[in-house]
């Protein structure tokens, strides 16, 4: 009998897990049930802001096709919620009254937007009913609310200086809305970026037409619009920021109620070990935003340094790929085990010997925007002269932190490379796309930076494109035939006065013809010099 796998949640991470499990479903090794509370199959949440400003279409966001999955034999249930999980009976109790059985249960419930505690907002985190003119930005309905405001040229107030808020603000402003970002602290992206980068970033936002309201503490919302909807965000200094739509972008919180309800251990997210298993429960797994990898072993050094769920989709997708392989091996094992040959099949060993997923590095945040480029990663707060901070971790022969920094606020450029032993531990790059791309890739590979860090800054310079050494007469002018400037010069001195004659004498210019203008230049220079003399 095939292994019953139930996935709770149908977001991008669940979609990847389903795709990776399909071969096992098609072969009959596993039976898969997917429960999604939204009416739509998985779509790309990362691009909801783009949808909200009309830059893409809902159909282009689709990550899964429910009909195709059903045709493959997947039991897809949309618009249904899980009431509770019955671990004793290995059942999931649904709102429609059905109770699918599971051998393996995977929580991929994701997270929900944080609704700040403001007067005039309903703060019930489980059932946030927001008043008219206020929206989060998480699902397709939210995107539609934003799209109408942007299309109508309305005033949009974005509460929160996180990356999603900034992206929404930039996109909405570019599409014609009047946008204000309200955030804590002196600069946006306070949790991710250092002071210098934050300042250059804020200036860049303003250049893109976004009003930035920093150091602001909001206290409530005002509903004085004609339809009774949102009209202003109230701040603690007594001022108000007027607008037609308030977009709440105050971070996300893992959805753990179901897991808590059935007695699983949770912290910020559902606690899982390095095999993504819930603590002390081999039948239940969690991946993506709702999962927090922190194993029960208190001496595990990886877990001591672990942070909570990253809120980024990349780690979730890597977890989905890994878990699919593991679950497939487990399913093969249980099929082997049910035959009379051996109770513990090779596949069980194979599953247990599957290398565990390595711990994620701190997340990389790349701003998705046109006209603005920014990437940050890791711990980048330390400044070049913070001796105490730089030497703090340098014990037991571990090298100290080193900081290299480039600041050119006038031109909107800022780079910081925080390294230990030449390897990046943190980075900031604003306004330097090539540098950002290289640094991110170096950070993710853990490769050593070139000792001359300025090499990385020059990637965005125009001098990278210029050809070098044009004046060297020994330079090969005609690559095809391998003819140097000197040889052509000699031919000209010997009497060749046209490109065709030079070609006849030297073969230069007889391949691709790309050097004809260079040959002409040499001829002209020669005769100009002769005329001058």
């Amino acid at each position: 009998m095939s292994e019953q796998i139930v996935i709770v949640g149908f977001g991008p991470v669940a979609a990847r897990l389903i795709d990776e499990l399909l071969p096992a479903v098609r072969s009959g090794l596993a039976h898969l049930t997917v429960i999604g509370e939204e009416p739509d199959a998985a779509y790309n949440r990362v691009l909801v802001a783009d949808l909200g400003v009309g830059r893409t279409t809902a159909s282009a966001l689709a990550l899964s096709d429910a009909a195709a999955l059903i045709a493959d034999g997947v039991d897809v249930r949309l618009g249904v919620r899980v009431r509770r999980v019955d671990r004793a009976r290995q059942q999931v109790v649904l709102t429609d009254g059905t109770k699918p059985h599971y051998d393996r249960l995977v929580f991929a419930t994701g997270s929900r937007p944080v609704i700040p505690n403001l007067t005039g907002l309903n703060p019930d985190p489980a059932h946030p009913v927001l008043p008219a003119g206020v929206t989060a930005l998480r699902d397709l309905r939210d995107a539609e609310v934003l799209r109408q405001a942007v299309a109508g040229g309305k005033r949009v107030v974005v509460l929160g200086g996180g990356v999603l808020g900034l992206e929404t603000a930039l996109a909405a402003a570019e599409e014609g809305a009047t946008v204000t970002v309200v955030h804590n602290g002196p600069h946006p992206l306070g949790r991710n970026i250092d002071r210098g980068g934050g300042a250059v970033l804020a200036a860049g936002m303003r250049n893109c037409g976004v009003r930035m309201a920093g150091n602001a503490r909001s206290t409530g919302v005002e509903h004085n619009a004609p339809d009774g909807g949102f009209s202003a965000l109230l701040l603690d200094d007594g001022s108000a920021i007027d607008g037609d739509l308030l977009v709440l972008s105050c971070g996300v919180r893992p959805r753990v109620e179901l897991a808590e309800g059935c007695g699983l251990s949770t912290a910020t997210g559902i606690l899982v070990d390095h095999k993504l298993r819930a603590h002390h429960e081999p039948h239940i797994f969690a991946i993506g935003d709702c999962a927090e990898v922190r194993c029960p072993d208190p001496s595990c050094s990886d877990c001591r340094a672990a942070r909570g769920p990253s809120g980024l989709v990349g780690p979730g997708w890597r977890q989905a790929e890994w878990l699919a392989e593991y679950l497939t091996l487990l399913a093969e094992g249980s099929v082997d085990g049910s035959s009379d040959s051996s109770p513990t099949g090779d596949s069980v060993d194979a599953a247990e010997s599957l290398p565990e997923l390595p711990m994620e590095k701190p997340g990389v945040v790349v701003l998705k925007a046109r006209g603005m480029n920014m990437a940050v990663a890791g711990d980048n707060a330390a400044e070049p002269w913070d001796e105490e901070v730089l030497t703090a971790g340098a014990v037991n022969g571990r090298p100290r932190l080193q900081i290299a920094q480039w600041a050119d606020p006038e031109h909107g450029r800022y780079v910081k490379m925080t390294t230990r032993g030449g390897v990046l531990e943190g980075l900031v790059a604003v306004g330097m796309p090539r540098t950002a791309a290289e640094l991110v890739s170096l950070f993710e590979r853990g490769d050593e930076l070139p000792a001359d860090r300025s090499l990385l800054l020059r990637l965005d310079g125009p001098d990278q494109l210029a050809a070098a050494g044009n004046s060297d007469p020994e330079r090969t002018v005609c690559r095809c035939a391998g003819v140097t400037g000197t040889k052509i010069q000699d031919a000209v001195v010997d009497g060749c006065s046209t490109v065709a004659e030079v070609s006849g004498a030297t073969r230069a210019g007889t391949g691709c013809g790309g050097c004809h203008s260079d040959i002409k230049d040499i001829i002209e220079k020669h005769f100009q010099a002769a005329a001058a003399a």
Partner: protein
């Protein structure tokens, strides 16, 4: 008296038109050979001056470029100097048998053929016919490639035939088949590129590999629309500077991801040609879902290409598609990977989203590499194919070939092994024990070359047909001397699918024979079924019949027509006028639609741990130099080319070099679990700092393929040539370099 022949260059798939003239003063040298020349002697054709013991004679023929739509009279250094090999002192002019002392000594043709016949019969009797292997090449004429497939299957009775095109075109071919139902490198004449405003070139460095091609990029450069994707700032990438276009420099091994990002932008920014997609393709919805996860900023993090450059490239291509034309061209840089078929598929998907294929002024194409890389992959040299690009497993195709060959269908073996697997089986139990090698230098050109050399040495009998003692021939029990291009008649099919005539300008050395003659004599000795001609035109006439009704249909083409100068693009069924542009009316699948297949990057195998604390782990990419061709077996023997590029050099970024104490010209060791290369370093800012580049034209300690992995693409069988981990460090001493084989110098 002066004679001349209009022919084409012996080297790459551009097949530049050239004229060979024999200078009036030249008198044919007296040949010391034994047998008479087998082919009917052409009275006005001079013989090559071969001086076996002395220095190189002056070239016996003068080469000049000839006006033709592809090269427009241009030639590169390789073409200009090609005639010097005709009179090279190292030329093999008699069959050479390896003695027990390891030294090759001349034997008569009679004796050579007897030895082969005995070896074949003995191997068949002891291990079965599949213990005989045939390894062909993309440099063989259509006639030889066709007859080689027939010879292997009917005369030797083996299924074990494949060829070096597996290392070259197999990924693009598989992707083309999957998407379009047919694979012709460029499904349009090369001149179509001239008027276009946008060209995206991925993994192809034409400025070095086929320089006269560059003329056709000028239009796009003038329009600022040449976009080159290459981890190196190659000579071709340099054309994008000064307003010529864009250079995208992704991390090696991330081309597929970059292409998915481009498709993502096309779909999400509404740049797709929805009318075309609706009418002429299938699979759009699944494709759209599959690229959804590759938004530009994510792709930037994975590839190192800035998100805005990705967007700009997609928009530029879309703009070109509606105005002026857009072309997407791929080369080996993106295809020679374990995911090469998927990468070529991603490029095709992008072109289909934009509605490029099947339009008269836009398109997708792959740039075929070897001289007859196109024709060589159509007529039965591939393990899974029969002539006319037919599938060997297709009952109708087998019945057709059985009829043409006049044999029962059961006599045609089934599919064999693709090249890498074939080479891995050398000398293994149940593997190949007796191998024939044609137009290929597998000891240098194959991935994991050290393992291949071990395989060659473990064979019972190795026969190599060549005109020089290549590194592979040096391993042979028997070397058979064959003809060079200027000494033979035949046809080749260039990168556009246009069939060209190769013409004889010179009599071959007395002891050399055409491979057609060799196959005919051996078939006779083996009492093989069907017929084997030594006359190229007779073989071509049979090829016409064999290809009739297949995808690559040559049935309407004749020597007479080609000699009149008619342009013949296949498919060219009898009664038609050929097909310069494919897909104008429909694609070659049953429903006439092109198929979009979703693809995604796969996780790669973790490479071996670097055991050398003094060495730095870097990424190795391999490629060509302008001066050399393939394994260099020919071009390393041209003194002018050798003088210019005498040895392998490892290109490395100055910043990476500085951290390792490597200076320009110092010796470095480049090693991994498979082998080691020791060569000089060449410092260049044209390469990414984590990557090194080696050309693959050199043998021994300069042999890049000692480091490449024999892992293959699951669909095409293409090995991983362009993404290998190596451990780089300063080497104390350089190798005692001998670029040519020592056996030849002695």
């Amino acid at each position: 008296m002066t004679t001349s022949a209009d022919t084409h260059c012996p080297y790459c798939a551009l097949q530049c038109a050239m004229t060979l003239k024999s200078p009036a003063a030249l008198t044919p040298a007296v040949q010391p050979g034994s047998d008479p020349v087998p082919a009917p002697p052409a009275p006005n054709v001079p013989a090559a001056a071969v001086d076996a013991g002395g220095a190189a004679a002056a070239p016996v023929l003068e080469v000049s470029g000839r006006d033709f739509p592809t090269n427009r009279g241009g030639l590169c250094r390789k073409g200009w100097t090609s005639a010097s090999l005709l009179s090279h002192p190292g030329r093999v002019t008699e069959p050479m048998l390896k003695g027990s002392d390891g030294v090759h000594r001349p034997v008569s043709w009679d004796e050579a053929l007897k030895l082969i016949t005995a070896a074949v019969k003995d191997t068949r009797a002891r291990y079965g016919a599949d213990a005989i292997g045939v390894f062909g090449g993309g440099g063989l004429t259509n006639e030889k490639a066709y007859q080689l497939g027939k010879f292997a299957r009917l005369a030797l009775g083996t299924s074990r035939i494949d060829y070096n095109g597996r290392f070259c075109m197999s990924s693009a071919a598989a992707a083309g088949m999957r998407a379009f139902g047919v694979d012709r490198g460029l499904p349009f004449p090369l001149e179509d590129l001239d008027g276009t405003s946008t060209i995206l070139m991925l993994g192809s460095n034409v400025a070095e590999t086929m320089p006269p091609f560059v003329q056709h990029l000028q239009g796009a450069r003038d329009a600022g629309g040449l976009i080159v994707v290459d981890p190196r700032r190659s000579a071709t990438a340099a054309f994008t500077s000064d307003g010529g276009g864009l250079h995208l420099q992704p991390l090696p091994g991330t081309d597929l991801t970059l292409l998915l990002g481009l498709s993502h932008v096309v779909i999400h920014e509404g740049l797709a040609d929805t009318e075309f997609i609706q009418a002429r393709t299938s699979g759009f919805e699944a494709l759209a879902r599959s690229v959804n996860a590759f938004w530009p900023e994510r792709v930037q993090s994975l590839t190192g290409v800035p998100a805005d450059l990705i967007r700009e490239t997609a928009r530029r291509l879309a703009h070109g598609a509606t105005k002026g034309g857009s072309y997407i061209l791929t080369g080996r840089g993106v295809e020679q990977h374990v995911d090469g078929t998927d990468t070529a598929t991603a490029a095709i998907n992008l072109s289909l989203l934009l509605g490029l294929p099947g339009s008269a002024r836009s398109g997708y194409g792959t740039l075929t590499g070897q001289g007859n890389g196109q024709g060589g992959r159509e007529h039965g040299q591939k393990a899974d194919q029969l002539p006319g690009y037919r599938k060997i497993t297709d009952p109708a195709a087998r019945a057709h070939m059985a009829k043409v060959w006049g044999v029962p269908e059961s006599l045609i073996p089934g599919p064999g092994l693709p090249a890498v697997q074939l080479l891995k089986s050398l000398g293994q139990p149940d593997g190949v024990r007796c191998l024939f090698v044609h137009a290929s230098n597998i000891a240098v050109a194959s991935p994991d070359a050290n393992a291949v050399i071990d395989g060659l040495r473990s064979l019972d009998f190795l026969v190599v047909c060549d005109f020089f003692v290549s590194e592979t021939a040096a391993e042979a029990d028997l070397i058979l001397p064959v003809l060079q291009w200027a000494e033979e008649e035949g046809t080749l099919t260039n990168l556009e699918g246009r069939v060209l005539r190769r013409r004889r300008a010179l009599q071959p050395p007395a002891g050399a024979r055409s491979e057609l003659w060799i196959m005919a004599r051996l078939a006779e000795a083996l009492e093989a079924p069907s017929t084997y001609s030594e006359d190229p035109e007779t073989v071509f006439e049979e090829l016409r019949l064999a290809s009739a009704g297949g995808l690559a249909d040559y049935s309407g083409i004749s020597y007479a027509m080609l000699d009149r100068g008619e342009a013949a693009y296949w498919p060219y069924p009898v009664g038609s006028s050929g097909t310069p542009r494919l897909f104008l009316d429909g694609f070659a699948h049953a429903d006439g639609k092109a198929v979009m297949t979703p693809v995604a990057p796969r996780r790669r195998r973790t490479p071996a741990e670097n055991p050398d604390p003094g060495a730095k782990t870097m990424t190795l990419i391999t490629g060509r130099l302008l001066e050399h061709y393939q394994s260099g077996a020919q071009t390393r023997r041209v003194s002018e080319l050798l003088a210019s590029q005498p040895e392998a050099k490892m290109q490395i970024h100055p910043a990476a070099a500085a951290s390792m104490g490597i200076t320009d010209g110092s010796f470095v060791s480049v090693a991994n679990e498979r082998g080691e290369v020791v060569c000089r370093a060449e410092l260049s800012t044209a390469i990414r700092p984590e990557t090194v580049f080696l050309p693959f034209h050199f043998p021994e300690l300069g042999s890049a393929n000692r480091l490449t992995e024999a892992a293959t693409d699951p669909i095409s069988g293409m090995p991983e040539f362009k993404f290998n981990k190596v451990w780089v460090r300063v080497a104390a001493n350089g190798p005692q370099h001998s670029v040519l084989q020592t056996s030849e110098a002695s």
